[in-house]
């Protein structure tokens, strides 16, 4: 099926779901004034449904936008690819949304034209109420590069070089918190960086404070990260920050075996529990 055919299906189905009152509105994508960018869009009626698009630029994650509506008038419809469905599972297990408030229209993905899709492990939705078309059975992943290639590139450096590498990265950070805002896992009502009186996050604009923010953000997201890469996409300075969180996932895998966040809504996360026989490098 071509993009145009799939887009037709999407628009028709969205219009039908809204008209039939199954959903209150649907979250999808629309065109922007840039030919190679789309924006997340809330379709509320039949005319809106005609504005939905599906093409290789439909990159942004739809799931995070549900968190703004905690008590919806009816169900929230959401178009979900693999990454969106993992984010939805994550939001459910983090008690941010309720499954019965969500109607998931699964869209098996082709892999989009964005760097964040390079290490995609899940093109097809892992949770949905209906699938709009059959998944491409050839490959469940886009698999452009190894899962942890971003992390491994930095790991290959020596200690001082790694220090300099991150010093360079965070010297360009403007601490706009776009990475936090876009992240489907960063759902605190009040983020630690906004608690100015605790002094957890210094407000000075310098590299050291940026580094504190970078490491803290990585750790807060840490074991819950679904590796969607939205943080890197949203970063206006184009900083390579996904490798930072993936380092944690990689460590969790080394300590506790295969680990992938967001594959089911009830999966416990690594730091929320313990095992008395955990490996111990301390004395």
């Amino acid at each position: 099926m071509t993009y145009a055919e799939k887009q037709r299906l999407m628009r028709d189905r969205a219009a039908a779901l809204i008209e039939d009152g199954i959903v209150a509105y649907i979250i999808g994508w629309r065109e922007t004034r840039f030919p190679d960018k789309t924006a997340v869009f809330f379709a509320r009626d039949k005319d809106d449904a005609e504005r939905l698009v599906w093409n290789e630029y439909a990159v942004p994650l739809t799931a995070k936008y549900m968190t703004g509506d905690r008590w919806p008038d009816g169900k929230i419809g959401v178009f979900a690819r693999g990454c969106d469905s993992k984010a939805i599972n994550r939001l459910i297990s983090d008690n941010q949304i309720e499954r019965e408030n969500v109607y998931i229209i699964g869209l098996p993905c082709e892999g989009k034209s964005d760097d964040r899709c390079l290490t995609c492990r899940q093109k097809d939705p892992v949770a949905y109420d209906e699938l709009l078309w059959e998944p491409d059975s050839a490959s469940p992943t886009v698999a452009g590069r190894g899962r942890f290639f971003r992390t491994e590139e930095v790991e290959a450096l020596g200690t001082q070089e790694r220090f300099d590498y991150w010093e360079d990265v965070y010297s360009r950070c403007i601490r706009c918190y776009a990475c936090r805002n876009i992240c489907p896992v960063c759902t605190c009502r009040e983020c630690y960086v906004d608690m100015h009186r605790t002094g957890f996050q210094g407000k000075r604009q310098d590299t050291a404070e940026n580094r504190v923010f970078g490491v803290t953000r990585a750790f807060h997201v840490g074991d819950r990260c679904i590796e969607c890469g939205e943080c890197e996409r949203a970063c206006p300075m184009g900083l390579p920050i996904l490798g930072q969180t993936q380092k944690i996932i990689k460590t969790v895998e080394r300590l506790a075996g295969d680990y992938e966040s967001g594959m089911s809504p009830d999966k416990e996360n690594f730091l929320g529990k313990f095992d008395k026989d955990d490996k111990d490098a301390f004395m």
Binding site: T151, V154, E155, T159, Q160, E161, R162, F163, D164, Y165, W166, E167, Y192, F200, G202, A208, E209, R211, V212, V215, T216, A218, F219, G222, D223, Q244, K247, I248, T251, V252, L255, F270, L271, F274, D275, K276, D278, K279, D280, A281, F282, M283
Partner: protein, 132 residues
């Protein structure tokens, strides 16, 4: 003004084990380097990884997190969470170019005054070697 060339080490010590151990070291008139600054916390599980970052950010040359041995936690399970948390944090610090010898997590019980002394001495010497 002379520049202070001694390293500063921040040690987060659990109230029930390591802090008592440090107290016992004092009662026994044991000698250990004065570079260490002890901060008492109710449990090693209280130590937010951010405390470590903040200590480094504010100029500490080394950071230690000390708590009860696994199985001995006053709150039953606190240090099991600590263990997981700092296994990850240690790797993440190393990934960010902080020498792993600057961050230590140790289990020291209330009766192990000598172990507290030895650990602090060892860590201080290690960090002195690394430079400020």
């Amino acid at each position: 003004m002379a520049i202070d060339s001694e390293p500063k080490i921040v040690a987060f010590c659990c109230n029930w084990c390591t802090y008592t151990g440090a107290d016992l070291a004092g009662l026994n008139r044991m000698k250990y380097p004065e570079n260490v600054r002890v901060i008492r916390v109710p449990c090693s599980g209280r130590v937010n990884p951010q405390f470590i970052l903040r200590a480094f950010r504010r100029g500490a040359d080394g950071v230690m997190v000390c708590g009860c041995h696994p199985g001995d936690c006053h709150y039953s399970t606190g240090n099991y969470f600590t263990r997981r948390r700092f296994m990850l944090m240690r790797e993440l610090l190393e990934f960010n170019g902080i020498d792993p010898r600057r961050f230590h997590a140790r289990w020291i019980s209330g009766s192990e005054a000598a172990k507290f002394r030895d650990t602090v001495t060892e860590v201080t010497e290690m960090i002195r070697g690394l430079g400020k």
